[in-house]
Structure formats: C-alpha cells, structure tokens
C-alpha cells in the first residue's frame, strides 16, 4: 500500500517535471508565437503590441504559471494552425492513434514471443540463426523504410490495403481497421524485432535453470516444460521491455503516421512542429511524455500481479 502511495506521489512530481521540461524545450526558440501568428514581414509595432497582449514579455516563470494553470483547469488553449481548441484536437487524435498503437503491440507480441521461444529452444541451430538474423534485420531498418516497402507491396502492387488516410473506428470499424493495418504493421515490425531478441535471451537463461531440468526429469512433455513452465517465467521481463518500448513506439508514430497520412497523434505532433505551432507542440509533447510515463507505471504494477515473487514493501 505504501508502495502504491509512493508511486502515486511520484507520478505528480514526474508530471510536474515533464511539464517543466516541455515548457523549457519549447522556449529555447529564437522566434516566438507573435511572429508565428503575424509572419516575419509584419509591422514591428503591431508585433510588439501582440506580444504584449499575449503576455510574451512577462518573465518565464509567469508564462509557465499561466500555461500550467491552463492545463490544470482544462483550458489547453487554441492551435494556431488548426484554429481549434487543443483539447478537442487531442482527444480526437489520441483515439485514432490508440488503434494503431494497440494493433502494433498485438502484432509484435503475437509474433515475437513464439519466434523468441523457438530460437531459444533451438539455440545455436539453424532455427536460432534464422530467428536472430531476421530480428537483427528488423531493428536495423528505419520504420519509415518498412512503411515504404509495405506501401509498394500491399497497397500499390497487391492493392489489399489503402496506402494512406484514416477512417473513424466509431463510424466504419472495418474501414478503420484497413487504414490502420499497414501503419500498425510498420510500427510493429521494429518492436517485434526488439521483443524477439529479448524473449530469446530471457528464455535461454530460464531453460538452463534447475527447475526446468527437474520438470523434464519428472517426465513432463517438452511442450509443457517450454510453453507453461519456462514461458511463465519469461513473460514478466518481456512485458517490461514491451512496456518500455511504448516510448519508442510514440517516437516512431510521428514518422509512420506522417508517411501513411494517418491523422493521429503522431501526425498532429508533426504538423505542430513543422508549423511551429508552439501551444500545440507543448500540448502534444506533454501528453506523449505523460502517456509514456503512465504506461511504464502500469507495466510495473502489472508485473507485481504477474510475478507473485516480487513484493515491494
């Protein structure tokens, strides 16, 4: 209980630090919001006026206070590019991205765990070489390159999936899945490669342990030993890595969504960055970091449930 309370307290502190870093990073720029709104060619007097009215001349600490106050009271401001309330935009885009993030996680785990186990069971044989080499190839190519290959293959040549665009899952679920599939696959491949490597090394270690030898000596079927006994012990570390990779996923999502023109969180972040829409950049960066932090926390807590040996006081 104390552990969970401590973690909750640390969430608040971490969220505060995330907000400070986000604000800091977005305030190192030489240009400012006023020039963004009016353009670089605008009249200096008008520019100064706008700066004053936007409060850009206030000390940093005051500007930060105003921003964080807005976040806390639900006033996330307006996007300069989309001319829409940021909160609305975010909710819409987060929904779109959740679909491909979850799909890519499922694809990655569904392929990586069997592949990794297969490699560990046949360690140093051809099966291991095949699995490990393909995993190495998987982590060596940028996701957007996989994306391009998939567009060429599945969209242009075979015509199975659309090569770009987005459909709202609430309205047309089937079409939404079709649009989400290729981006999810492009995201999932890199992740799958990481998880395969992780599963293989964890399983290799576990298969050498005493209790595995005992279960084999007991006469249990090899299938039971590997898939029930060994894997049950490997799944914790693999899940932790999968959780940590969510951060990586949210980085890649920017590139992949932009490539597939899939209008989710990553695409929104990119539009914000490209147009230097500072309020929107601050909001997207803050939300992504917060989501990554919270996911890691959830994974930690799940780990407690999955592995009863861990008891933190």
């Amino acid at each position: 209980m104390t552990y969970i309370l401590n973690r909750l307290l640390s969430i608040v502190l971490t969220l505060f630090l995330i907000s400070v870093i986000t604000f800091g990073v977005t305030n190192i720029l030489p240009g400012d919001v006023a020039t963004m709104i009016m353009g670089t060619q605008s009249n200096p007097a008008a520019l100064a006026g706008l700066r004053e009215s936007l409060g850009l001349n206030d000390p940093v600490i005051m500007r930060y206070g105003r921003w964080i106050g807005g976040l806390l009271t639900g006033d996330w401001g307006h996007s300069l590019v989309f001319k829409q309330p940021i909160a609305e935009l975010l909710i819409q885009k987060i929904k779109a991205s959740s679909l491909i993030v979850i799909m890519s996680m499922v694809i990655a785990l569904a392929c990586a765990v069997p592949l990794g186990v297969w490699a560990a069971v046949h360690r140093n044989r051809w099966q291991d070489t095949v699995s490990s080499s393909s995993a190495l190839l998987g982590i060596s190519l940028p996701d957007f390159f996989w994306g391009i290959v998939m567009i060429l293959l599945f969209a242009r040549t075979l015509g199975w999936f659309p090569s770009s665009g987005f459909a709202d899952p609430a309205q047309e679920f089937g079409r939404a899945l079709m649009h989400a599939f290729l981006p999810a696959l492009a995201l999932g491949l890199g992740l799958m490669a990481h998880l395969t490597r992780m599963t293989r090394s964890t399983m290799t270690g576990i298969l050498e342990q005493e209790f595995i030898r005992v279960s084999r000596a007991k006469g249990l079927a090899e299938r039971t030993v590997v898939w029930r006994y060994a894997l049950a012990n490997a799944i914790g570390p693999v899940m932790t890595v999968a959780g940590l990779q969510v951060g990586y996923l949210f980085g890649s999502i920017i590139v992949v969504e932009t490539l597939f023109n899939y209008t989710g969180m990553g695409w929104l972040t990119y539009q914000a960055l490209l147009n230097r829409d500072v309020p929107l950049i601050q909001a997207t960066v803050f939300v992504i970091a917060a989501v990554v932090m919270l996911t890691n926390l959830i994974v930690d807590l799940l780990y407690l449930l999955v592995d009863p040996r861990i008891r933190l006081g």
Binding site: L136, Y248, G251
Partner: protein, 271 residues
Amino acid sequence: MKRFLTPKGLIGLSLVLAILLIAILAPLLIPADLATRMTMTARLRPPSADYLLGTDQLGRSLFYRVMLGANTSLMIAGAAVAMSVLLGLPLGIISGYYRGHVDNVLMRLVDTLLSFPALLLALTISAMLGPNLPNTIIAIGIAFTPFLARIIRGEALRVAQMPYVEAARAAGTNDLQMILRHILPNIMPPIIVQATISLAFAILAEAGLSFLGLGTQPPQSSWGLMIQASRDYLDIAPWTALVPGAAVALTVLGLNMFGDTLRDVLDPRTK
C-alpha cells in the same frame, strides 16, 4: 581477440570498416559536380551500366549521392553520440560516485527525460532551434543523453564499490583523482559498447529527422532526405527508395553486429 573471430563479429567489423572508408573517402574522391549534376534526359533511370544504382528525379547519380550521404549520416551520428557521451559522463559519474541526494535529484531528472521518446525530443529541439546540420547534431545528442547517463551511472555505481576503489581511498586519493584515475578507465568498456549501439540508433534518428524535413537540409546529401524525395516516384522508380534504404540498413546492421560482438568481448559479466 578470439571472440571477435565469429561470423557475426567479422561481418559487423567489415561492414563498419567499409562504410567508414566510404564516408571518409567519398567527399575526397567524388568531384562535387558529379553528385549534383542534373541530367534532365536521364531522370529516374533504373540501375544500369551507365548509372550503377540508377538516377533520381533530377537525373542525379544515386551511386554518388548515396556515397556522399554516408559522410553526412556518419558525421552527424558520430558527433551526436560523442556529445551525449560527453554530457552523460559527468552526470552519470557524479550520480553513481556520490550517490545520496545528488543521485536522487539527477536520476529523477534523467528518468523524467526518458519519458520523452528520443525521436520526439530530437524533433522538437530541431524544430525549435531551426533545422540545419549543427542543430541536428545538438538535437540527437541531447535526446540520447539521458539514456547514456543512466548507463554510465550504473557502471560508476558498480565500480565505486570495488575493493580497489576503497584501497585507493584509504591511501588518501581525492575525489577528482579517484574519478579520473580509477573510475573512468574502468567504466569505459561498457560505455564503448553502448556508444557503438547508440551510433546505430543515431543513424536511424538522423534518417528519421531528415525524412521529416527537420534534419539535414538540401542540397546536402543524406539518406533520410533521399528516401523522402523518393516518395513521389515509388511506383515508377522504387530503386530511388531502396538504394538509400539499403545503405541505412547495412550501416545499422553492421554497427549492431559489431556492437553485439564488442559486448561479448568487453563486458566481463557475459564471460
């Protein structure tokens, strides 16, 4: 040394050496005009005897451009990783060596920074500073620092508890000497391994940034930029994407294989 003589180690080493050689020699051997010369009559040509790897949408030789791209990509990745090691070293060593409150505060900050996906952090910094070559290095360098600081801290923590460090302390060595003479040399091997692997990630990050237009800017030749330019011609000229893609893949693959082997050789815990 024997551990290096595995197929993986040898392939990794040869790939890394070959690409290093290309990156260093390309700008010296390839006349600048060959890579930038636009031949409008030879646009989007497939690979042939005249154009070894084909040509791009402006009729420029992909062979020369991909070679020159090696220089840009490796230079940016190398400088960025060097920067993150240089920033990570003091952070990590101070944390791991002094422990206590300093460690708590620094690592809380580092952990928070780790909540920001490295690519997002790099993209944001680059967009904010204005995308160009030096800022791409700074952006990737800063984005990779928390990760390296964490690893360096772990190593410093481990080494600081070694008996020889205690012996040196008993002999009256002061903190600065201790860090420079005893801690630093002993944490270098795992850091070199990590830097090699980070180099692979930095190549991918540079390609990603340039692909999104927030990294290297034209007319500079970069693999990410080449892939980006190829997007509009995928149907008729897929090689314009495949050539730079393969260059990235071979480089990162080489670095990963080299890094894996280096870890086996240098890391005492896997012996």
